[in-house]
């Protein structure tokens, strides 16, 4: 490995950020064990990172700043509604609302949640390229299930699934551990006011050292039931 190339490509930084593949990493290690300039550079960068960890862990001054924020002086006009003549009826009204929610609304919601239900679902193969996307039809605001198939790979310690909406914006990310015996993962997608269209699910594998690589990408067609 040429020293000029190491400098030009910022391989020291890439190495410490775990961005090199295994072959590049081996070649760079072979180089810095032999090159005193790169060895020094690597030590400095590594020392900087290690020291930074403890310094960045220190609490910042934001707490102190928050404490110093002056409390607004109460004025009779702005807080006039706090007078007992107004505050007591308002408090009573709020108590009625709270009681209604606790006695009526929440029990109904709880009952609905505890009742078994069949959810719309689709099966997604992350390593299948091309082909038609599965179609899933859901009532607006309802949740649905995705069965995500990921062929097991011992390279990875965990997977991260990212769901992108039709506009290409990330909706959510889900991290789950890699297990050699499991290749299908049921994922419940929470209900939301989603638009119809093609959603993309990208799955990344993350190694024990933190290296991340996309292992598959697939899409599904979401239709909203009228």
């Amino acid at each position: 490995m040429d020293h000029a190339e190491v400098v030009r490509q910022k391989l020291t930084e890439q190495y410490l950020l775990h961005e090199l593949d295994s072959q590049q990493r081996d070649e760079f290690e072979e180089h810095f064990f032999d090159c005193r300039v790169c060895a020094l550079d690597l030590r400095l960068a590594s020392t900087f990172i290690e020291q930074s960890k403890s310094l960045l862990a220190e609490p910042t001054d934001t707490t102190a700043v928050a404490v110093r924020i002056p409390v607004p002086v109460e004025t009779a006009g702005r807080f006039a509604w706090l007078r007992p003549a107004l505050a007591v009826p308002a408090l009573a009204f709020l108590l009625i609302i709270v009681a209604y929610q606790n006695l009526v609304t929440y029990p109904r919601l709880e009952q609905a949640l505890n009742r078994p239900q069949i959810l719309p679902w689709a099966s997604l193969n992350t390593r299948t390229r091309g082909g038609s996307s599965p179609v899933i039809t859901v009532p607006r605001g309802r949740s649905f299930l995705l069965f995500v198939n990921i062929p097991p790979d011992n390279l990875y310690a965990r997977y991260i699934a990212d769901l992108y909406n039709p506009a290409g914006k990330l909706e959510w990310s889900l991290t789950f551990p890699a297990a050699s015996a499991q290749d299908q993962w049921p994922v419940q997608v929470p209900g939301a006011d989603r638009e119809a269209g093609t959603y993309t699910l990208a799955v990344r594998g993350v190694t024990a050292t933190g290296e991340s690589k996309e292992v598959g990408r697939t899409s599904l067609e979401l239709q909203i039931q009228k």
Binding site: L40, T47, F48, Q51, L55, A208, G210, S212
Partner: protein, 208 residues
């Protein structure tokens, strides 16, 4: 070829320069204390950095480093080091062998990932924490203080909280190049401060 003594040597004494040549290897073989001290200090740091990217437990790193030194010194005694100027790559290759044996042994024990089930890295036992005492910490603080708040938070998320780098970059609206360049600039600033603090050995000499 001259080699710079690692930071550890700065404690209580000035920088020393050593050349990896026939004379160095001969002194090492003869058991010269200062040469052995230099050898272990210089390569300890490099082996530590190398193994830290692969092993999670500090105990495992220490064991493999010790085994690497034992094998290199045995090879020295047996006259198996034929190219003293290639001592560095030789140490690296021995370390690779030790690492492969570690993986095989872990695999035999039924652990698919040799690091599964082991303790997370013990950052407090990091060799750099021992050698970069208060002055080094102040220089790093100096560099961090001059960074914009966003860059400080970026470094914090990546190195302290060890979040997924792609996610962090996405959250901060930057790409991976930005992160790389940020680390590069911080390192250069730290390097400049570090060598400015050394009176008796100018940086040019260290890098010559």
């Amino acid at each position: 070829m001259l080699y710079w003594l690692p930071f550890r040597g700065l404690r209580g004494k000035s920088l020393q320069f050593e050349s990896f040549d026939d004379a160095y290897v001969e002194r090492l073989r003869a058991g010269d204390f200062r040469t052995q001290e230099h050898f272990v200090a210089y390569f300890s740091d490099l082996i530590q950095i190398k193994l830290r990217s692969r092993l999670r437990s500090q105990e495992g790193i220490d064991d493999l480093r010790q085994e690497t030194f034992t094998r290199v010194l045995t090879a020295l005694q047996n006259g198996n080091i034929l190219h003293p100027d290639r001592l560095g790559p030789y140490v690296n290759s021995i370390c690779n062998h030790v690492l492969q044996e570690h993986y095989r042994a872990a695999s035999r024990d039924g652990c698919v990932n040799p690091e599964d089930g082991q303790d997370p890295p013990d950052e407090s036992a990091d060799v750099f924490a021992l050698l970069s005492a208060k002055q080094t910490g102040e220089k790093v603080r100096n560099v961090l203080d001059k960074l914009p708040e966003r860059d400080r938070r970026l470094l914090r998320e990546v190195f302290l909280e060890e979040r997924d780098k792609d996610e962090v970059c996405r959250d901060f609206g930057v790409d991976r190049d930005y992160l790389r360049v940020l680390l590069y600039r911080a390192k250069q600033a730290f390097k400049s401060l570090y060598f400015n603090g050394i009176d008796n050995d100018p940086p040019a000499a260290a890098l010559a």
